[in-house]
Symmetry: C2
């Protein structure tokens, strides 16, 4: 794959990583960033994350990456309604984005909703990593009106930066991500509520791993949990039932029940990641 | 520090790591293991984790590490009542161990209850790591009758393998570890209950970190959660209150409340581990 100009709207962790990944792999001739934060913009140019920062998406852009908060995706798609290039976003919740675009842009054919399942508790272009998408899964949730050529360009781009592409409906995506990503963040944030300074010397690697996602960007995560609150609420109910079953077994000393639940969990986790437990 | 003979009862992950750490740092002349599992015993000798495996703690041992399940610590202390060497254990829950020893060995002066806050979801001598205790905290919860010379020998040994030593009461230890270790394991085990094979391609680094401790040894963790169920139940209640406050804020769209809770959690987590979020 070799494109002319890649436009990245929002040069933070994800946008910056897209820029670095494309540049390091020689996928594009030129990368322009659109970034309202002057510090981030300056840093990104100085450090070669993008070639230049401009105020509008150039008319000759060949691919447009919208790396903006979810509620800003539909407004950007409207702004770019007459642009010829394929446009993808990177939002963590697809249903509301797709609905907002469908309501306002019922004929949008060049917009390809995407979600790279990567990321980090860090943020900003300083944390950008050209290998962030290497080995990660990117979910595409195309609209009924999405042109196959636009979809194919975006899929090829993701594969060129090392990702695997899967397709599903926005609702399927949001229900699955509520379990695999949004609920863990909710639980980790809640867990930190009772941790005090006195606890910190008494923590080990398990605590550090379990709580790492609680260091994530609060604004971003408040938005994600708000946008996906229905699926998140369902996942939380299922989790609460599992937690009650296990804590009841512990309280009542029901070893056969409790151990069976723990063994099932351990086997599932070991199978999920056999090489690097 | 230079001791003659170190006896390690139970050559698994922790016992094996103690052996390797002592050997690599030249702290002892000889290491003998007492290990009923023939495969582990053979592997440990072949791979130099211990020098030899014997059936009983030698009379000339200068330090004895009891790396056995918590409920076997008191029986071993009774068996070794007349031994002259300092004895430490490595159990994750101190109250029940200390009570069991005090009941049966009211004059025990050479037993030093210890808990190295390290470990891994892996187990067995194959997972042993001579640097496991480097930078970790070891909690000592001495009995009223513990001789200061025994306590000092154990403390010096832990410091010599890279650990920092803190002292507290068994109840203080158990309440703190319920929060920092036992509750995270309970939550991670419960969380895995709703994860299916279909979810696995849709997971990223956050999921992997959050769930890593769910791969831990089920028998070991059932015992720990049983032994510390009172403090664990208290920690679970506090957690449930925090979780309800945050999920209520999400459901009701109460941004000022929800964001404040998330920001407090994120700040605490960032402060806990600023160098490696």
């Amino acid at each position: 794959m070799k494109l002319g100009t890649l436009a990245i709207v929002g040069v933070g962790l994800i946008g910056g990583s897209i820029g670095k990944a494309a540049k390091e792999r020689g996928l594009v001739e030129r990368i322009v960033g659109i970034e309202p934060n002057a510090d981030s913009a300056l840093w990104a140019v100085k450090n070669g994350v993008v070639d230049t920062v401009v105020s509008e998406v150039p008319a000759d852009a060949d691919l447009i990456a919208l790396c903006v908060p979810s509620d800003l995706v539909a407004p950007w798609v409207i702004t770019l309604a007459d642009h010829a290039a394929p446009i993808f976003d990177v939002g963590s919740v697809k249903g509301p984005i797709v609905k907002a675009v469908e309501v306002t842009q019922s004929t949008a054919s060049h917009f390809v909703p995407c979600h790279p399942i990567s990321g980090s508790e860090r943020s900003g272009p300083q944390a950008a990593d050209g290998d962030l998408f290497d080995g990660c899964t990117v979910v595409l949730t195309p609209l009924a009106t999405t042109a196959s050529v636009a979809e194919q360009t975006c899929a090829s781009f993701w594969e060129a930066v090392g990702a695997s592409v899967v397709r599903m409906s926005p609702d399927e995506h949001d229900a699955a991500l509520a379990v695999t990503s949004h609920l863990p963040h909710l639980l980790a944030f809640a867990f930190m509520g009772q941790v005090t300074d006195q606890h910190l010397p008494l923590t080990g690697g398990g605590f550090r791993d379990f709580t790492r996602i609680a260091a994530a960007n609060p604004d971003l995560w408040w938005r994600i949990m708000q946008l996906n609150h229905e699926a998140l609420s369902q996942a939380l109910d299922d989790y609460s039932n599992n937690l009650r079953a296990l804590s009841d077994a512990i309280e009542s000393g029901d070893q056969s029940r409790g151990l069976a639940l723990i063994e099932a969990a351990a086997q599932k986790r070991q199978a999920a990641d056999p090489s690097a437990p």
